[in-house]
């Protein structure tokens, strides 16, 4: 309970203000600081690092192909598994292609595919989670059991089976990744929404005669969006790893195109000599996942603080 929250002392407006109790204005002080300073103060140092990494990779996904020194698939050197050098900053791969260009071209597959798949998974999962929470017992029961059944299939095995059966293509990869992560999003959004449904403002809305759609859209969804965003970030990382894993097994993005996972697989032969061709895509995967995680952690901490004490 926030009975003793210190701010109460300053927000008593209905009684004539007691003599000698000055009202401390708090809002203007926060508004005076510039937008950048506000952003900086919202995130911790680690959160800022995460934000920087994520923004960097998102930018690369868009402008990577434009700034890449060579064409993505072009064989540009006679040396295979070449080391760092002025012509090829990150060395060359097993066919003598420029590694920097390969990574820059691969970013759009990894980031773009994963982003689209995560949007699908979180969107669909949240939608069904809301439906299950606000409608009656039977709908909830059926949806929950259905997604329980889905969750019981290991996501990688499911992805392997589906792709083995239908062949690999970009839309197929996106759908498989989304399908594998919908049940998790459903579970989380349902449990959040069920908790919110018991709150009194939802009860008031029900007693007012509101339709379920209105309750879901206005009373429940805005209050669960913050944890769902944090979950979105986590899911994004899982999907990047799943797609990279699939590519590593040769079931992901097909040659000559390559996402970071396939780059690692292609160049696995260079591992013994410590070639940058195998190290750099792995580093890219690692930085993206670490960056997103740092960003989410700071988001989540911020969210839980704003939730605490009903503020």
């Amino acid at each position: 309970m926030n009975r003793h929250a210190p701010t109460h002392a300053t927000t008593v407006l209905y009684d004539p203000p007691a003599a000698g109790a000055p009202e401390e204005p708090q809002a203007p002080a926060a508004a005076k600081r510039g937008p950048l300073r506000r952003l900086v103060s919202r995130f911790s140092v680690l959160g800022l690092i995460g934000l920087f990494i994520v923004v960097f990779w998102l930018a690369v996904a868009f402008i990577g192909p434009v700034v890449a020194p060579y064409k993505g698939g072009a064989v540009t050197s006679t040396e295979i598994f070449g080391s760092y050098g002025p012509a090829h900053w990150l060395g060359t791969d097993y066919l003598g292609r420029d590694m920097l260009s390969r990574i820059l071209f691969g970013t759009q597959y990894t980031v773009g595919l994963a982003l689209a798949a995560t949007l699908l998974a979180s969107g669909i999962g949240t939608f069904f989670g809301l439906i299950a929470a606000v409608s009656g017992r039977w709908v909830d029961e059926i949806l929950s059991r259905l997604f329980d059944a889905l969750i019981s299939i290991p996501s990688k095995v499911l992805a392997l089976v589906v792709i083995a059966a239908f062949g690999s293509s970009i839309p197929m990869l996106m759908m498989v990744a989304a399908l594998a992560y919908i049940p998790g999003a459903f579970r989380i959004s349902r449990s959040l929404a069920v908790n919110l449904m018991t709150l009194e403002y939802v009860q008031v809305a029900r007693a007012r005669g509101e339709r379920l759609f209105y309750i879901a859209r206005v009373e429940v969804l805005p209050n669960m969006i913050h944890p769902m965003l944090a979950d979105f970030g986590l899911r994004f990382v899982f999907i990047v790893l799943l797609l990279s894993g699939l590519s590593f097994l040769g079931l992901g993005v097909q040659p000559p195109n390559a996402d970071w996972g396939s780059l690692v697989r292609e160049n696995i032969g260079g591992l013994a000599e410590g070639a940058p061709a195998v190290l750099m895509p792995a580093v890219a995967i690692a930085t993206l996942t670490v960056g997103v995680n740092l960003l989410i952690d700071s988001l989540r901490r911020h969210g839980s603080r704003s939730h605490g004490g009903g503020k």
Partner: protein, 609 residues
């Protein structure tokens, strides 16, 4: 000799780049050895912050900025972290408001009660256990020898609060700080706990600081009262002086809010023909429904009531009596098992989905907890606009105008409309709640403990507002409360619920003098009076043991209060269901005693007091 000496204490919240708020603004007071000092004030007055400062502790985000706190001869603010920890529980101990949150559910009570003594290596395990059992006995706990073997969930809330006091007292501390220890308890339980605290403080001669917002409670416990407001001491004096001759305006305001003036009975003129709301034989509950259509857990059992147009019905009972369920059934949020509800003489469907828009509009509900009753992500303007649009199709300028009218009606500034609920105080939120209900232009507002979570002064202001709205708009209320004095202040008719049964129904005046149902009697007697010594005299009168009761017949509808009734009759109460009786005051009660008997029983108690 001064046991506690606080000089110029200042506590601030927030680190320096952020705006700093001063919570405690230079407080001085002293407590003599063996004295009980009460810190009283509204929430936000800094009373808990001061109490924690006595332990050398500031909550996270706060810091003790200046001043000195002397316990005995040591200034604890000059001590280091380690020395302060050694001091806590040994020299100064603390009893928190929520005992259930203060106990670890996975360990037995005894283990936790003796923990401070073992932690500070003050006594051996056996000696500590012995001491704990002696304390259990002194605190009037049932089965003192074995209660320590139980787990926290196996005892009641009032018992847990007393066990927490035992935990605080086990090390024979010089000072005990009680932080609102009875606020979360029912009135009847509160009295038992207070009596136990008072006795043990007196026996051990402990110096105590008692934090509370309730003047009547403080009047029973304290020798001196310090009145706080917004982090400053408003008044510091002996209990009798503060209560009888307050020197400060704020103290007078507080006293006025505690003594609810009784509103005049607004006799609804000629509106007797069709009552607004009529409930007949209502039963409701939770769990699986058996063959007779009765749910496994019955929360309401055969309740009938009637609210006239413009009238106000008070529903009183302890927690678990089914009063909130009653409101939820009327609002359609809980299904009913049996019985019918008539609104304006027409049946009100049990299921929400079968009600018409007009039926939705005419019944509005206002909940106890203002914090969770407003959607935190919408502005006040959005919250108030929705029912106007939904029921009356108002939007744009018309809605804006109506919203300003509503805010004015509940006495909130118009500037509040753009803010979100998080930026409002508890009292303001409750006013917004009321405004939202009024936006529908309802005929009946179900008020579920609307003032319970608020401070005395703020709660009194809300009660005044309710009375005023009723005069101006002619709305009816079903006013649910556990506090008999607030019900007296606003209601025309009253029903008393016990374990889902309506044990007494009558006009408000039926509560002012005996005879009443024995349970009503217990409730009336449990409301602390603003008179020092009231608790002692009351305790003397109610120490009578319960009359023995033999085996029970399996007749279904026995008196539900028989297990706690001091006037029960063996061979009658446990065998035959109580008949419905009419008292001279016009109230109907469910009891075996005749009116004359009840008058005799209840007035001898008062005379003894």
């Amino acid at each position: 000799m001064n046991m506690i000496e606080v000089r110029g204490l200042r506590v601030v919240a927030g680190a320096s780049p952020e705006p700093v708020v001063e919570i405690v603004k230079g407080v001085d007071f002293t407590v003599k050895k063996g004295e009980v000092l009460a810190l009283i004030g509204e929430s936000g007055s800094g009373k808990t912050t001061i109490a924690l400062a006595l332990l050398g502790h500031a909550r996270s985000g706060c810091a003790i900025a200046a001043g000195s706190v002397k316990i005995g001869d040591t200034d604890i603010l000059t001590l280091g972290v380690k020395a302060r920890r050694a001091l806590r529980a040994r020299t100064v101990s603390y009893v928190a408001q929520s005992a259930s949150a203060g106990f670890n559910p996975a360990r037995t009570i005894m283990d936790q009660v003796i923990e401070p003594a073992l932690l500070h290596k003050l006594m051996t395990l056996a000696a500590a256990r012995e001491k704990a059992i002696a304390l259990f006995r002194a605190l009037a706990l049932p089965e003192p020898d074995t209660i320590g073997e139980r787990y926290p969930h196996q005892v009641s809330g009032g018992q847990l609060q007393r066990l927490m006091a035992a935990m605080a007292l086990i090390t024979d501390p010089a000072v005990v700080v009680f932080d609102e220890p009875t606020t979360a308890l029912d009135v009847t339980t509160q009295i038992e706990v207070l009596a136990a605290f008072k006795r043990v403080i007196r026996e051990l001669g402990t110096t105590a600081v008692y934090v509370s917002h309730d003047l009547a409670v403080v009047a029973q416990m304290a020798d001196r009262i310090v009145v706080l407001n917004a982090g400053r001491v408003r008044e510091n004096g002996a209990t009798a002086q503060v209560l009888d001759a307050p020197a400060d305006d704020y103290t007078r305001q507080l006293l006025a809010a505690t003594r609810h003036p009784e509103a005049e009975l607004a006799a609804p003129a000629g509106a007797r023909e069709t009552p607004l709301l009529q409930i007949r034989g209502l039963s409701a509950g939770y769990g699986r429904i058996d063959a007779h259509g009765v749910p496994a857990v019955r929360v309401l059992d055969d309740v009938s009531l009637c609210i006239s147009r413009g009238g106000t019905l008070g529903v009183i009972g302890e927690s678990g009596s089914g009063k909130t369920t009653l409101a939820r059934v009327v609002a359609g949020l809980v299904d009913r098992a049996r019985g019918e509800i008539l609104l304006d003489g027409k049946p009100l469907p049990a299921k929400l989905s079968e009600r018409t828009l007009d039926q939705y509009r005419r019944v509005q509900i206002v909940f106890q907890n203002a914090d969770t009753a407003l959607n935190p992500s919408r502005t006040i303007a959005d919250i108030l606009a929705r029912p106007m649009n939904f029921y009356h199709g108002l939007c744009g300028a018309a809605a804006q105008k109506r919203m300003l009218e509503l805010l004015d009606l509940v006495k909130l500034p118009a500037s509040i409309a753009k803010r979100q609920p998080g930026g409002l105080s508890g009292g303001q939120k409750q006013r917004v709640n009321l405004a939202r209900a009024l936006a529908a232009r309802p005929a009946l507002i179900l008020c579920d403990e609307v003032t319970s979570a608020l401070d005395t002064v703020v709660g009194a202001a809300i009660l005044d507002l309710l009375a005023e709205l009723r005069r101006e708009l002619g709305v009816s209320y079903m006013f649910i409360s556990h506090d008999i004095s607030t019900v007296r202040a606003i209601c025309d008719d009253v029903i008393v619920l016990y374990a889902g049964r309506c044990v007494e129904a009558g006009q408000r005046d039926a509560l002012s003098a005996p005879p009443y149902h024995p349970y009503t009697g217990l409730l009336v007697d449990s409301v602390p009076e603003l008179r020092p010594g009231w608790l002692d005299s009351r305790r003397a009168s109610t120490l009578t043991a319960l009359p023995p009761l033999g085996a029970e017949s399996d007749a279904p509808e026995l008196c539900s209060f028989r297990s706690r009734c001091t006037a029960r009759i063996d061979g009658t109460c446990n065998v035959v269901p109580p008949p419905l009786k009419k008292l001279p005051s016009g109230a109907d009660i469910l009891c075996h005693h005749s009116a004359a008997d009840l008058v005799r029983i209840q007035t001898t108690e008062t005379v003894a007091a």
